[in-house]
């Protein structure tokens, strides 16, 4: 039982990724991210003067607005907003711009599975595009658990519905730094093995979850390389814009 996937991918093969930055010219930063047919557009406005509701003299505030493809925003979207907000809060350096609000608007263009994951990646690229100070990047991945304990990565919508359970995992990307090795290791594990965010659906055993973690980590290195490459390749055009 090697491959049973409809699109002929191997279990740990991701769909084709694409990332474009600076796609909206009115926003301070924007990015579009797509994984196969799932596509999300993210725009960042800010840091701007804090509104009364969000004012905090010690920290910058992050606000996430989720725009679904059609219709009104419901409980599901509220949950996504909250998860996205908390995830982005943990990777941004909030103490640099106290008393400000940064808005991230996420527009779903098309949903074909792994939507939240796609939105997190898009928002992260848009924050980079806007020049918001960050500790590190976050890479998100969706692991699906098929019958018999197989783990498949980056499911389509159809696969997501068929499967026994799935986990959205967010890892920090590997930091390329001049710091000595020891600093990026926590208790013998490299920093990028820690989970920033984890959301699971469906029942699984603890061992199966740990297996998902392991597969997710392996794939997140590939994703984080892609993210780094696509952010670097667009740098020259960025400096010309500034000039």
């Amino acid at each position: 039982m090697e491959t049973d996937r409809d699109d002929g991918r191997s279990p740990s093969q991701l769909r084709p990724l694409s990332c474009a930055r600076n796609v909206l010219h009115r926003a301070h930063g924007s990015a579009s991210w797509s994984q196969g047919d799932t596509k999300v557009l993210a725009a960042v406005y800010g840091p701007k003067a804090g509104t009364k509701k969000n004012e905090n003299p010690e920290k910058a505030c992050i606000e996430v607005i989720w725009k679904p493809k059609t219709g009104q925003i419901g409980k599901l979207e509220k949950e996504f907003e909250m998860i996205l907000k908390r995830t982005l809060q943990s990777i941004c350096i909030l103490t640099l711009n106290p008393n400000t609000t940064t808005s991230i608007i996420v527009q779903v263009v098309n949903d074909d599975g792994a939507l939240l994951v796609c939105a997190i990646n898009a928002a992260c690229a848009a924050l980079v595009d806007a020049g918001i100070p960050m500790k590190h990047l976050a890479v998100a991945i969706c692991c699906c658990l098929a019958e018999g304990g197989y783990v498949i990565l980056d499911p389509t919508k159809l696969e997501e519905q068929k499967m026994r359970g799935f986990a959205y995992l967010v890892f920090p990307n590997s930091v390329v730094s001049v710091l000595p090795e020891g600093l990026s290791h926590v208790e013998g594990e490299p920093m990028e093995h820690g989970i920033i965010t984890s959301v699971t659906h469906g029942v699984m055993s603890v061992e199966e979850y740990l297996k998902c973690l392991e597969r997710g980590r392996a794939a997140s290195t590939k994703l984080s390389d892609f993210l780094r490459r696509s952010l670097q390749s667009q740098l020259p055009s960025d400096s010309s814009k500034a000039a």
């Binding site: 409980k75 599901l76 509220k78 949950e79 909250m82 998860i83 907000k85 908390r86 995830t87 982005l88 809060q89 943990s90 103490t95 359970g165 986990a167 967010v170 920090p172 926590v186 208790e187 594990e189 920093m191 093995h193 820690g194 989970i195 920033i196 965010t197 984890s198 959301v199 699971t200 659906h201 469906g202 029942v203 699984m204 055993s205 603890v206 199966e208 979850y209 740990l210 973690l213």
Partner: protein, 303 residues
């Protein structure tokens, strides 16, 4: 926080209350380094938990759960509905979580709490994916009539670990649920049989004579932990939640399968050992909660 060292020297000469308010994080860390929490609990212990079934007389099933001072009131109202064509022999459960302004100073009147829809969604995800309730049991007449269970959970006091208390109250309300008797009338419609008629001779045979209780299999229980540096604090209070922001909620069912591992962001990362520690703490907690639930149920039966 910004000045960890400056506050270190002040702690010996400042009043405890002032220190707590000026350097809340430092105050907690001083406790944690002694493996104790300000409310005298060890790090891994949850607060005292009580459960009372049948708190609302007008509902078909209800429960009041308290974890420390976090209080949740859950009540279920059953109504007959026409099942959808996709699942003609299944009932339905609608879960709503309410946070009225009385529950916390953070919630302001007229402005709905941000956390409420999120917890509501988490609850319905957990209850549906745990498979605790077989929706087929809620069916009355296939394709014609089925039960719709409206579960409303009111947060009366929000003092941390809201999801844990809400899930406990929801589970308890379902185990207390007594499905009303209904019968078919002459027009083929479902009518409720009132309590007085029950003793009298019924013209029509009730549709659901036997199925008065739901069978609950693999009941989910949860534990919320805070990750802070190398410390793991079980069952945080609202104060702890506001100071240390990395929360992890683990839901395990009674056969120790993982229903949900929920960590929305937070500044500390969960590495594999932290994941395993949280799961181990939850395993212990599931046993405690299972006992508390069993005790509450057997207490009801004696009455």
């Amino acid at each position: 926080m910004g000045v960890p060292d400056a506050s270190g020297d002040l702690s010996s000469e400042m009043e405890v209350d002032a220190f707590r308010h000026l350097f809340p994080l430092r105050y907690f860390e001083r406790h944690l380094s002694e493996s104790i929490r300000p409310d005298a609990r060890p790090l891994g212990r949850a607060r005292d938990t009580t459960l009372a079934l049948g708190a609302v007389a007008s509902a078909h099933g209800s429960a009041l759960a308290k974890i420390g001072s976090t209080t949740m009131l859950a009540a279920i109202k059953m109504e007959v509905m026409i099942p959808s064509t996709e699942s003609p022999d299944e009932g339905c459960i609608a879960i709503d979580f309410h946070m009225p302004p009385i529950c916390s100073p953070i919630v302001r009147p007229g402005r709905p709490a941000e956390a409420a829809p999120v917890i509501s969604k988490q609850l319905s995800d957990t209850i549906s994916s745990s498979g605790m309730i077989n929706l087929k049991e809620l069916s009355l007449v296939s394709g014609k009539a089925a039960w719709m269970a409206y579960l409303d959970i009111y947060c009366l006091d929000a003092d941390g670990a809201l999801f844990d208390a809400a899930l406990l109250s929801a589970v308890a309300a379902f185990s207390h649920l007594q499905i009303p008797i209904v019968s078919l009338n002459d027009d083929g419609k479902i009518v409720l049989v009132s309590e007085e008629d029950e003793g009298a001779k019924l013209e029509k045979e009730p549709v659901n004579k036997e199925k008065r209780k739901l069978k609950l299999s693999s009941i989910p229980f949860s534990l919320t932990c805070i990750l802070h540096k190398n410390y793991i604090l079980a069952d945080p209070t609202a104060e702890e939640e506001s100071i240390m922001e990395t929360l992890v909620t683990v839901v395990l069912d009674s056969s120790a399968r993982l229903v949900s591992f929920y960590k929305p962001g937070g500044s500390f990362l969960a590495n594999t050992s932290a994941v395993q520690d949280c799961v181990a703490l939850t395993r212990q907690r599931v046993k405690e909660l299972q006992e508390i639930l069993d005790e509450a149920i057997s207490g009801m039966e004696i009455d």
